[in-house]
């Protein structure tokens, strides 16, 4: 299996230096050789498709007679959920760069449209 380190780094929003690229190439080739043992397990297209909706807790719902929809959130949010909504200053407290009036702070980012 070919692992295009350059391409995958780009997809991951990462930039590798030459040393990293070289080391990663060898390491990924070892790791992929190892995970390729999964090829020994047969899986048909139906089974592959059913994996899109696989959820690890489904088995627990049956065992403990739980309603699988119990956790779906109803709107509007209840009081406890409302109490979790961050205020403007809380949300911006950790911003590497922000500007604006108190309680109306904005995240600062480099411009994305050309003047």
């Amino acid at each position: 299996m070919f692992f295009d380190v350059e391409k995958i780094a780009r997809l991951s929003y990462l930039e590798l230096n030459d040393d990293e690229r070289k080391i990663f190439e060898t390491q990924f080739s070892d790791i992929l050789k190892y995970v390729d043992q999964l090829n020994q397990i047969p899986m048909n297209s139906e089974e592959a498709k059913s994996m899109n909706s696989f959820h690890i807790q489904s088995a627990f719902y049956d065992m403990f007679d739980l309603d699988p929809n119990a956790n779906l959130r109803s709107e509007p949010a209840d009081e406890e959920q409302k109490s979790l909504i961050l205020s403007n200053s809380e949300a911006l407290e950790n911003a590497p760069k922000s500007s604006g009036l108190p309680n109306e702070l904005l995240f600062e980012v480099p411009s994305i449209i050309e003047r």
Binding site: L14, F24, F28, D30, V35, A59, F60, N71, N94
Partner: protein, 478 residues
């Protein structure tokens, strides 16, 4: 009885005061941290506040020092996930588990070191340096909750919280000779915990023994409306569970795939066999079972966990929080530079492996196949639990290895999780506990795996084992 329960008792009976406890504890935590590097930050203000308290002990965890893995939010404290990318980040909320511990009085004595974003098996992937094993300072403490394990072993807290995505509570617990419980997926809230692989992550207690773990689990377990995967299944009296003796007549399964594995350390193998004899002596009925997909567990795990990590870690973009790169020439370049400078090598490797298994053309062959194996592993476990009550196995294939010994070979590091990952893939609870020492004085751990939501049974089993066959403790080097 572990130190947590012992100190609770001594305080209740007024044999000591919190002030006296902290007078000894404060120099000890500082001194030992300089040797073990278990804490990224010790909260000196909190320690002093507890020492200078004028009111008396009010029961439960009141005033008792609990260490928190630095991946779990404590309001108004820094939170780094042992990563440079979160340098300077301050938590705006407390995690539910932290709130629940605070509710019964716990004092948080510091942020515990771990592998960056909990990715690792040796705690060597921390931007703050490796944690050293308190029994052998040149050896690792295991990972990723290495600080949580070392701090308990070196008596630098009375108990701690760790997180376990593929073995990150149980492996360091085994390396450091303590007890660590990975609860059922859905037993403990993940709200306020930095996400690594959301379908696998679970917070759990790490402490001296089953009773101390039970005290902590009692405080943190249960449904939380902030985490939709925390299930509405009643908690049990975990502390009372540690009073029960259940080994007599208990059916314990030994998965043959776990015991036929190449590369199991001979000392661990010998000690594990001795423990099996002990279990028989105590009246347990030992049965061989088969979990045929076990050998594929690591491969499936490292595809699923990394796929989830790749999407969870997409949020670290240098815009909303964390450290931002200083030089860049566009918005996209800002994100790329921030991530490339902020993440360490192992985190980059995992993000890339995850991007790969989710990418067009490879999804079915890797990610979907891994999920398929996951579903089979879960089914096999649940099937096995029709004929046995618990499953017993080693907790790790090797003893705590030397710092630096395996850092250049990530695959050999991934294989450290061979006994632990299947449990996370299946969403089951498991507990690691000490069963002996190697010739060189390093701890050896074993684990019990239980049915979903059988935490009290796991605690009873370990409590019964502890009473019948107490494990020797090594000499601290710090």
């Amino acid at each position: 009885m572990g130190r947590l329960a012992k100190i609770q008792k001594a305080l209740s009976e007024k044999k000591i005061s919190l002030k006296e406890f902290y007078q000894d504890f404060i120099p000890q935590i500082k001194n030992r941290n300089s040797k073990t590097n278990a804490y990224i930050e010790i909260f000196e203000d909190e320690l002093d506040a507890q020492k200078n308290r004028s009111d008396e002990y009010r029961g439960n965890l009141d005033g008792l020092p609990i260490g928190i893995k630095d991946i779990i939010s404590i309001r108004n404290r820094n939170l780094t996930a042992a990563s440079k990318i979160l340098t300077g980040y301050r938590a705006v909320r407390s995690a539910t588990v932290v709130e629940r511990l605070a509710h019964v009085g716990a004092s948080f004595c510091g942020r515990l070191n771990c592998d960056e974003f909990a990715m690792g098996s040796s705690n060597e992937n921390s931007a703050y340096g490796p944690v050293r094993n308190p029994f052998h300072l040149e050896h690792t403490a295991g990972g990723s909750s290495g600080g949580s394990a070392a701090a308990v072993a070196a008596e630098m807290c009375l108990g701690s919280l760790g997180t376990d995505t593929g073995g990150s509570i149980r492996l360091p617990a085994a390396f450091c000779g303590i007890t660590g419980l990975k609860p059922t997926y859905g037993r403990v809230s993940r709200s306020g915990v930095i996400a690594f692989a959301s379908s696998l992550d679970q917070v759990g207690p790490m402490a001296d023994d089953s009773l101390d773990c039970a005290i902590l689990l009692q405080a943190i377990a249960g449904r939380d409306s902030r985490d939709a995967t925390s299930l509405n299944i009643p908690t049990e009296d975990y502390v009372a569970a540690t009073q029960k003796r259940i080994l007599k007549g208990l059916k314990i399964g030994l998965p043959k795939e776990y015991f036929n594995m190449k590369g199991l350390d001979p000392e661990i193998e010998k000690q594990t066999q001795e423990s099996i004899e002990n279990l028989k002596k105590a009246g347990a009925e030992i049965r061989e079972i088969s979990l045929p997909h076990t050998p594929y567990g690591i491969a499936a795990y490292y595809l699923i966990a990394t796929a989830e990590a790749a999407s969870n870690l997409a949020r670290y973009d240098g815009i909303r929080y964390g450290k931002r790169a200083e030089e860049f020439d566009s918005l996209k370049d800002l994100m790329i530079k921030t991530r490339s400078e902020g993440f360490g090598a192992e985190v980059k490797r995992r993000i890339m492996l995850g991007s790969f298994s989710l990418s067009a053309g490879y999804y079915d062959a890797y990610y979907a196949k891994a999920q398929f194996v996951r579903s089979k592993i879960q089914r096999e476990f649940l099937e096995a639990f029709k004929s046995v009550d618990l499953i017993f196995s080693p907790a790790s294939p090797s003893l705590a290895f030397k710092i630096g010994e395996r850092t250049n070979d990530p695959l050999s590091m991934y294989l450290m999780d061979i006994f632990t990952v299947s449990v996370n893939l299946a969403g089951l609870p498991a507990i690691a506990f000490p069963i002996g020492l190697s010739q060189s004085g390093l701890p050896i751990g074993a684990q019990f795996i239980g049915r979903p939501f059988s935490e009290s049974q796991l605690l009873s089993a370990v409590a019964s084992y502890e009473e019948g066959f107490p494990s020797k403790r090594g000499a601290l080097q710090c």
